[in-house]
Symmetry: C2
């Protein structure tokens, strides 16, 4: 037994148990111990908003196997064959002697764990805003099953009614839906001028925000929370730089930071912005110490994107776990990095992105082109067909696809995953239109939305299509500039919904070739339709007739993130 | 006007109107004429089964724009700017003089169309089996809106009740659902021993067949139709080599063949098996004649697959249309080929494949490895989580992914499209597990099914996992061989469903390490669970304990395509 490889894993969620389980399958003789400071191991924190919403009945289901067996030390011992110790916190690493010192959080005792290989899977912690009131009762984070369980219990016990969510990231918007569906009044306060500022560009986020508001969520943008106020030790309101919002429940979702203190104290290289630095095999600067999961920074799989990213996700943690186990066992299966894919459901919308947003891309590249496309996710004659809006970001010089965002009631998740794969392989926009995606009426129109969006971008890159983003169109319309806003839809469509502007000229596309005399050649014309396919056709028809100042509003009314005039 | 480029397009569906519309946008001065022998243009034939099913109310919706405008000559003239002539059949090409001779099918008159560039988009025609009875009343094909409209009308008018579908391809299985949902009794007769023989391997097809039978479709496999019998000029039964099946409606779905006669007669190079041969710009052997859509053979986008494929799909036709228009207009946007992606919904199952099936791959490569994986499409705690079964085919030497099949109630379409993209880029199995696919509970488990399936295949390629396919396991179980069938599920799971075999040993995985003495080392052990993740763990535990003859049944009970004993 003396020469069994001793592997110590710090952290019992996602990367930790994954690497331990796989390693035990690869090296049955290894002596593997996993320590976790919490009481629970191997839970799916991403499921917590759905528990709060009431989608499934018991919070312990996020820490069970699919057949209902609890992930607990006895399970890992019996089924997976490694030792798990909970309520044990690692407090120091002696790299020279290869010993981790840990403290029993129940008894206060300290003990030493010698290791041959060490795995840091210490996760991340929610950022605690440096404002007064964070210690009041009824302030929650949403990181651990205990958070969700106590929130649900206290909503019931105290009859909590008014929730304020600080921060409009993924957790913020998911929890807005969960709490609204539980019957609470929900306000989301975000310091920036849009929701999901890390994930979506302004117009895509504003489209989601419009939907959230329609569902009854109060969105408060561009306001900074100054304090959480209390009465008798409990939350009573949230004070921003502009107003005071009544509240009896506060959820804080302003992001997480990697738990890299242990690594820093042990002298391992960490990113200045936080996160342990690892190589392709998840080794830290000490080759006998691996790290994975939420405590590391990732590099990008697409060599076009050189920035390292801190993007903690269970999917990445599991990949790290496998890579670590393989490398310890002598199998080379490098982790090639992430592409920054994220997806989220809010009410009936799917939203997400992969790669870079336009904002991020413009900070890295001088020659960005973008396109917004809107349309149905399957042929219009299928009654379950629903719209999606896709935004693509590419480099003009390399024609490489750098990022894709998608928002819609239709199947956006499929298009995001295909885009993630394309970006993983360094796809050019030209290639994307050639991918042989599955076509059948219940799944896609003959030209998949992703291909059609790429076509629009390609037409822009090739100088054929002259699009204008909805945000820019709105800005110009609001500026009082002398423009022609050209609606090329049918009269029936016009009855249903209109662009809220008093200078709209209406000429259905089919009549356009015969009514050219109604349009000026010396003014900018912004054409649009429901999705701006006809808007683009109008641009080409007018160009052919000698009109040079024509643009189409990208994505048309479906992608228009602002108010519209609707019938009834 | 004399030097306007004259472009003639033969064929008014998919590739034809796509190339005409795009070319007009690129070259507003071009003189473009599209001729079509039918009465209708630009319809989506793939939608017809859904019309028959009653999913949408009017068949004309398959030939309308999303806002309800009929694609007709006046529409193309006014909106798209090109001329469309219907009921006009091209009967000969004089390549030297660059003239197409065409016949007016209403008047019988013939006329000549000079061209500078010619586009052949002549489509495909259903194969008519060379058996008696094909001219009887109530025998249908399903290629044209008229087929669907007359079938629905005649079912109502004559009160047709018993349908026999000849051929179990995509059209056959889609129509089986459509007719069953309309209230007819449906029998599908297929000469091969499985449904969808061109698209799925035996075990995947058998899984779909099991579902079709559960829904009430009579599946008759391995029987050859000899004739359709009639009474008073109408269908009365279908005679196979083994039985006579009563029928008052017959749908023929035994495939289509490319309409390449015009091209052959003009001396253009065609594939010996049928289909016009084109280069990457969709040019035929005459550079002034392009061809696209169902009348051509395609090459494969993945250079690992050298076979040309005849796989007529609206998605490919539209890609061809764009490439043709671009090339005529001087833009180089080559068509890189297809990957053989197809998807289809039958009742609550999604099924499809991309790349090669195992059967196809084994004909091309000597070193094929496969894996079958089954599991939920999102975390088990999400109530809408549903199973999918994925089969992967790869080359052992290159580790390239050659094909993926998927079947299931869960979101298989997304995984197929991602796989199509991966195969498009020549992915290795090792790369597939690294793709950064979107993770959130409503969309995927932390490790996406596609990645997990690739993990299984990788474990097989690396010699860690020893899987056995369900078909092989069944064969060995039925052979009377002295095997141990090891069920490692919980006692609760055992109550619900069992492997129908009298030698099953039941040891839950958690108890396995303590009960090794109950298993023999000198017999083959086939382990399984619900999806065979635990089956694989059992294999590794037993290997570590010195058992060398252990295999797990791939995909477990979920992917088991044969009968099971179920409770109640």
């Amino acid at each position: 037994m003396e020469n069994r490889l001793r592997v110590l894993i710090i952290g019992g969620v996602a990367c930790g148990p994954k690497s331990a389980s796989r390693l035990k399958r690869l090296m049955p003789d290894a002596d593997i111990t996993m320590i976790e400071r919490g009481r629970l191991v191997s839970y799916g924190a991403c499921g917590l908003p759905y528990y709060v919403e009431g989608v499934f009945p018991e919070v312990r289901m996020v820490s069970e196997t699919p057949v209902g067996i609890l992930y607990e030390p006895a399970f890992f011992e019996k089924v997976k064959g490694f030792k798990t110790l909970t309520r044990l916190e690692a407090i120091g690493i002696d790299r020279r002697r290869k010993i981790v010192r840990a403290k029993n959080l129940e008894t206060g005792e300290e003990c030493d764990f010698p290791y041959d290989k060490l795995v840091l899977a210490t996760g991340s912690s929610p950022i605690r805003p440096p404002i007064p009131g964070m210690d009041l009762q009824n302030v929650w984070y949403m990181r651990h099953p205990d958070d969700a369980e106590s929130m649900v219990a206290e909503i019931e016990r105290q009859g909590l009614r008014k929730a304020v969510i600080i921060g409009a990231g993924y957790i913020g918007v998911e929890m807005a839906e969960a709490l609204l569906r539980r019957g609470l009044e929900v306000t989301v306060v975000e310091a920036q001028d849009q929701i999901l500022p890390q994930f979506l560009d302004y117009e895509m986020a504003t489209l989601v925000g419009k939907n959230l508001r329609q569902k009854g969520v109060h969105l408060v943008l561009s306001e900074k929370v100054l304090s959480v106020e209390g009465k008798e030790g409990k939350v009573s309101s949230v004070k921003t730089d502009k107003e005071t919002i009544e509240a009896d429940l506060v959820l804080v979702g302003v992001g997480v930071r990697p738990n890299d203190e242990l690594a820093r104290e042990a002298g391992l290289v960490c990113d200045p912005k936080g996160g342990i630095v690892i190589n392709g095999y998840c080794q830290t600067s000490d080759p006998d110490i691996y790290a994975g999961g939420d405590c590391v920074v990732n590099h990008c799989a697409n060599p076009a994107i050189k920035e390292s990213m801190f993007l903690p996700l269970g999917s990445t943690s599991n990949k790290h776990g496998r890579v670590i186990a393989d490398h310890i066992a002598g199998i080379s299966s490098p982790f090639v990095g992430i592409t920054g894919t994220g997806v989220c459901r809010v009410f009936d919308l799917t939203l997400g992105r992969t790669g870079l947003t336009e904002k991020q891309a413009r900070m890295l590249y001088p020659d960005i082109e973008t396109a917004i496309w809107a349309g149905p996710d399957m042929p219009h004659y299928m009654p379950q067909s629903k719209p999606i809006v896709i935004k693509m970001v590419a480099s003009r010089s390399s024609r490489k696809l750098l990022g894709v965002q998608a928002v819609g009631m239709g199947d956006a998740s499929k298009r995001l995953d295909v885009a993630a794969c394309a970006i993983f392989y360094g796809a050019t926009v030209d290639q994307v239109i050639n991918i042989d995606l599955g076509y059948a009426p219940p799944y896609a129109p003959p030209m998949d939305p992703l291909a059609t969006a790429a076509n629009v971008l390609l037409n822009k890159l090739n100088g054929l299509a002259r699009g204008i983003s909805p945000v820019e169109a709105k800005r110009r319309m609001d500026s009082g500039e002398d423009l022609v806003i050209l609606d090329v839809r049918t009269p029936e469509e016009l009855m249903m919904m209109r662009m809220p502007h008093d200078k709209v000229v209406h000429i259905p596309l089919g009549a356009l070739r015969g009514k050219l005399d109604q349009l000026p050649k010396d003014k900018d014309i912004l054409a649009f339709c429901k999705v701006s396919m006809r808007g683009y056709e109008a641009q080409r028809i007018l160009n052919a007739a000698g009109f040079d100042r024509v643009f189409f509003i990208e994505g048309g009314l479906i992608a228009w993130p602002f108010e519209l005039w609707t019938a009834g």
